[in-house]
Symmetry: C2
Subunit: 789 residues, 2 copies
């Protein structure tokens, strides 16, 4: 390639890079004396040195060159920083381009501002050391590694004008999620979506080890990237001048190639999946820092990962070395006497929203449009009286979702993400209006597969979660449809997103984004066919550890409640909504009107099922989750028939956070309300969808907690019948009736007789299923015997 | 390639395959009439059809061809079934080779046994539908997908005579963990380790979608696999005869290539990483099942994923079709009148331990050798009196681990696994005896990197966990060394392993294996430098949801306790041990003798810190975790000085499960013991390492729970100082003193004055860190003022 930069251009872009490097080091080290106007003294250096230099010069290099093509072609580019520990670099660049000062007016573009910029970094009361919500232009936290490319693709979906430049560290490239996320290109439609430009930064080392991709042959690396479907351009070396020319030339090629691909695809509706260009940038780690410190290699070694030089207060030689290092960037050539970036250098940055720190997509809330929602009441299951009809809750919900999809097809701001479980979880009706997205070979036997599809299915929960996060963070809406047990795969990603939301809410310029919505179906009680490995209701337990302001957990007992909750979730902002609902046919309890009231309350007494008629009950039966509700009502049915004198109150919980102490969660019931529901001294038998101790954890401060007895999943299960799953965990009607008898005092001989009958039923059940392989007719065909019209 | 099979051999191997297919379908469908001696009637068919056919014929095909080369070359081969939902296939094959009947004598190799074999599958009281601990020859659960290849490599490490054949489904291949696990070949040393033979089974479809790898071009696929470092052989087609010849020829090539690689590497110590062979098997999904059902394609389509034909009881045509399908394998040619596999076919299977169902590595406990352990007392930190010295707990532990490594170097049965965090977590001393494993280019600047290394570091928690599980399940020992926050990445893998252990314990022929040990360091309280994204102590919460018999959680307060716990973990079997310990210099509390007593008890009163002198205290200060212990003692120090009349009892908890109700956990304290420690009515201020509600969850049944007040991490943090991290979460000494004052009644004016002083201290702290960026000297230099000699 010929050299695209004139000598002047080369000098200027190199100066821009030097300025970013200088500011990055300043942030890591300096407290005072930001322009080194005085000789560097140990009092100028921070007492604790926190930050990562290793990846930073590479990030600064890429940023400068992206600025160049943005300016040249007026491109709309967003920057995703895979190696997010390179926080100083992103802060430096947004400061240089002016966006930092716009967001934080105190950090002025002068010496005083630079001093504050330096001091605040990794400093108490200041800013985090990693890329974070505080960083302008970012949608991607520097924390856990692995999701950069998924986030980038999520951002690019339905953003046809956008290029997402995504830097991938070679450490990050070893993670599983990143390794599969390269395949996102099979789901990106160049006609309708934006572009992702992956930039693999091979700087050779992680914390203490070389990286795998830096130590395989060029041939293997090239095969790998082509195997992933990309066309790699290599920018390799260490000499800044040569590297600038090479990078500029590669950026020019890549830009042209992207434009060609996009314009071709938009002209030709029958396009085939393009081989998207990407860049491999191979540089020394810690590029331009001291080559050696104390006789040990630092530049181009793992030793430059964090702070290349330590002990500044004890070791005068290190202090000297730091000064020399910082002076090597010649700050006086970069900044004027007032500490302001010289104009000819500053002019290299694009202006306005073309600055990557000001890209509106990176503050997605500013672009967020409300979804058009159909009236969820129109999808109601007709329930003449409780239990009179059966329904498949998620299938009903799927029809509502289908029409949400339909109503927002034009705005292109709603997608569904699922690891090949969308149909299995009964949302197949969605395919009537939008297929599954796939950009590749499609066969006639495929089911609703198309490059236009908006249901994103790849067998990777990581990919689904990462795409969805990227999509939401750039101001759109979505739903994750997943098997309950395997949502744990993204426990850690959920953590990171919840943390992002918590911090974003505290930053005035970050606008609210759409909530991250999970439908968890094929849940623990209906994994009787796949068995023990598919049974885990513990995602809720994980979720409730995060900040209460962020977290919502719903367990609707039937289809109408699920509809009402779904509508609510799609309207909400800045939450993570977890909705657990079954897909199998089961009795429907509430009319739509009742469901709306019940879900709005989040918890209520089901009068029609209770026999306390407004007086103090003898026992409270609580239930939460569809299967526990079914078993509770079946138990109540038995009790009301066999022990009609016993006053039973049935309480159903939809919004789990209602149970928690009002000191902990904004949704919580007041103690007075809780007491009036659950009494202060009567036994409570609570049938719960998940692990029973979660209910104890949420209610331990409540007055009547001592009388609370919870049944739930206690890690017992195998391949068996649906009813046997509840029996194995003592959650079935026959156990619940016994629990009531055991806990209500003075019930007498009739109750003792009933208890024995319940035991006999359980023996009968076991014998029956072992002989016939399915549940007893009396269980299969049970219906609620109470009837109100 | 020429045809390696004679016509007779071809007939026989095809017959073997037909037999396995027949038995697989029989398991999914039949209840009675196993040999179809009568016309198939709906009463012969199970009422509920559960199981997966789609992947099964491919698994059966592979198994038969592996049998052939095992027999031919007397190879030691273990089988890992990535598509573990193909349970019927593995059951069928182990039945055919005789291992199934050896483990389950009731399942005889005759018609009656076959009937029981069929009935038990996915049947209440029978066996799971997926590959499970119950399946002979398996180390890999059919549940969550993604870990087959990591398990296979883990099994191959240090097993130079073993070949692990690992089938990877093309669905599974889309997961992140699987996508990165291909790179395991950079960590396998052909001189010392066994061999992994990946067999990518491209059958084109997942549950409802095509797979990505089946829809990229041959060229891309070939690039990808070569880029991963493999030499792929393609076996593609649908005609059984041709496919048998092609598979046999490929197996012959692959076997030869493996032998060449291994013998070359073992002769030449300077070998370079070989390109290991692998097989790509492309077949129709559901191969040999009905092509169409009700006019819709089934074979070679996603419709064959589970049960290709349903509604057997309602639809006579389907019943007819099933009969034709089963008859198409000509069972009368395969089994004799008694239902016994014909001898000439049965002879195709290897015998004894060469049968894959009998491979001893797949029941690792049978091969388990105890570790040789040095005396952990020899590594003790000298602690003349509590708090008199500082130590880095995990560094001390690392020296012990180093010598464990040393003592077992010859037996080659101990490895460490870490996502590039072994040195960061202060186990660098291990490198004195064993380096980091890496088979590839090594540069002079690399730190203890070698093909001989036994510290396995790749930046993938999934890979580390998968390797370690494979290593343990085949009868060896190991430790996972990880940052606390990011261990959540393997939450779901932990689930699967804990479930495997729970079920294995119930199977008489499964022998106990070494426990899975986690060291979680760089924990929440010392992520003041990396910030909020690195702070999460919730793995414990996740872990305690699993069966109590499997789970152990330890939070040693200092180095000597950590040593004692580590020794205990390395001796234990069939547990998951989670050890949380800090790496930063901090005060040491207990002499080794005290530490042994304390860790054996799991919880005890620290008399030297208490001022209740055996009488009833006014307040109990509980602590669990190193940082909470430090803050508690610092608080006690203040209280003892300022309020000397207050009787304080200090209780430290090492073994978290001591707190739980004895009804829930075998380690739990009795209620009497709990009451005598914590009193029945005095306030308890409990400083906990993790989320505070976990302590409530564990103790809600205890007498004095109502007076328990817990401080812990409540999701507040950023980049700040270490002490500020505890302040942000109200866990610091100044808050704890206030908590005591607030909860002990009638303390009077002196206490009120002290409370105000504590508030002032917190203000002073905030001002100090914002000015100086580090903690106040009085915090940094605090030492325990009590002294006993």
């Amino acid at each position: 390639m010929s050299d695209p930069l004139s000598p002047e251009e080369l000098d200027l872009i190199n100066a821009y890079w030097r300025a970013a490097n200088y500011l990055s080091i300043g942030q890591i080290y300096l407290f005072k004396n930001p322009l080194l106007k005085e000789p560097l003294h140990k009092e100028h250096v921070k007492p604790r040195l926190l930050g990562h230099w290793g990846t930073t010069p590479g990030l600064n290099f890429i940023y400068a060159h992206l600025n160049r093509i943005i300016k040249q072609h007026e491109l709309n580019v967003m920057f995703v920083t895979g190696p997010g520990h390179g926080g100083p670099g992103l802060v430096a660049n947004t400061y240089l381009e002016g966006t930092y000062t716009e967001h934080y007016p105190n950090i002025t573009q002068d010496e005083a501002g630079m001093k504050r910029l330096f001091k605040q970094f990794s400093f108490p009361g200041g800013i985090p050391s990693h890329v974070a919500p505080e960083t302008p232009g970012s949608i991607h936290e520097g924390g856990e590694l692995g999701y950069a490319l998924s986030h980038a693709y999520g951002a690019a979906f339905d953003n046809p004008g956008l290029i997402v430049a995504c830097v991938i560290g070679d450490g990050e490239a070893e993670t599983g999620p990143l390794a599969t996320s390269w395949h996102s290109n099979k789901f990106l439609n160049p006609e309708r979506d934006g572009v992702v430009l992956p930039i693999l930064h091979l700087n050779g080392y992680k914390i203490a080890n070389p990286t795998v991709l830096a130590r395989i042959s060029h041939e293997e690396l090239d095969h790998l990237l082509r195997g992933y479907g990309y066309n790699p351009y290599y920018v390799e070396g260490r000499d800044p001048e040569k590297m600038h020319q090479l990078m500029a030339a590669s950026m020019d090629h890549v830009t042209q190639e992207i434009r060609d691909i996009v314009s071709k695809a938009r002209q030709d509706p029958g396009f085939i999946r393009p081989r998207w260009p990407m860049i491999v940038l191979r540089t020394p780690k810690g590029w331009t820092c001291p080559k050696e410190v104390d006789g040990l290699p630092v530049e181009d070694s793992w030793r430059s990962h964090q702070v290349p030089l330590g002990q500044m207060h004890e070791n005068p030689e290190h202090l000297k070395l730091l000064e020399q290092w910082m002076q090597s960037y010649k700050p006086e050539e970069l900044f004027d006497e007032q500490g302001c970036l010289r104009k000819e250098i500053a002019d290299l940055a694009p202006s306005g929203e073309l600055r990557m720190g000001a890209n509106p997509h990176a503050n997605g809330g500013t672009l967020l449009k409300r979804l058009r929602l159909p009236d969820f009441r129109d999808y109601a299951v007709e329930v003449p009286y409780p239990g009179s009809v059966k329904g498949e809750a998620t299938r009903v919900q799927g029809k509502f979702i289908r029409d949400v999809m339909q109503l927002n097809l034009e705005s292109r701001n709603f997608r569904i993400f699922s690891p090949d479980e969308n149909a299995s979880n009964r949302w197949a009706n969605v395919f009537e209006v939008a297929g599954r997205g796939f950009v590749g070979e499609i066969l006639p036997t495929d089911d609703h597969l198309s490059p236009e599809g908006r249901v994103m299915e790849m067998l990777s929960e990581h990919q689904c979660q990462g795409w969805l996060e990227g999509y939401l963070l750039t101001g759109r809406h979505g739903f994750f449809n997943c098997y309950e047990a395997f949502i744990h795969i993204i426990d850690s990603m959920f953590n990171q997103h919840a943390k992002w939301l918590k911090v974003s809410k505290e930053i005035p310029w970050r606008r609210p984004i759409a909530s991250l919505n999970y439908l968890l179906s094929s849940h623990v009680w209906r994994q009787d066919h796949n068995g023990f490995s598919h049974q885990d209701p513990g995602f809720i337990d994980h979720v409730v550890n995060k900040k209460a302001e962020i977290i919502r957990v719903y367990l609707p007992p039937d289809a109408n409640c699920l509809l009402s909750i779904t509508d609510h979730c799609l309207r909400s902002r800045d939450y993570v909504n977890v909705v657990v609902a079954g897909k199998q046919p089961s009795p429907q309890w509430l009319s739509m009107e009742q469901a709306i009231k019940h879900t709005a309350a989040g918890i209520s007494i089901w009068d029609w099922a209770s026999s306390d008629q407004g007086s103090e009950p003898d026992v409270v039966l609580g239930c939460c989750g569809d299967v526990p509700t079914l078993e509770t009502l079946a138990a109540v049915d038995i009790i009301r028939q066999e022990l009609p004198e016993l006053k039973v109150r049935v309480i159903n919980v939809v919004n789990l956070m209602k149970l928690q102490s009002p000191r902990e969660h904004p949704h919580a019931l007041s103690d007075t309300d809780f007491d009036s529901l659950f009494t202060t001294n009567k036994p409570i038998i609570f049938a719960f969808h998940g692990y029973p101790w979660l209910i104890h954890r949420l209610t331990y401060r409540r007055t009547n907690h001592k009388n609370l007895h919870v049944r739930g999943y206690k890690e017992e299960g195998t391949t068996t019948t649906p009813f046997d799953m509840v029996v194995l965990n003592d959650l079935d009607r026959f156990h619940l009736v016994q629990d009531v008898i055991d806990r209500v005092p003075n019930l007498g001989a009739k109750a003792a007789y009933l208890k024995q009958a319940m035991r006999d039923k359980l023996i009968e059940h076991k014998q029956y299923i072992r002989e016939y392989g399915e549940d007893m007719p009396e269980v299969l065909n049970w219906t609620w015997s109470g009837r109100e019209e």
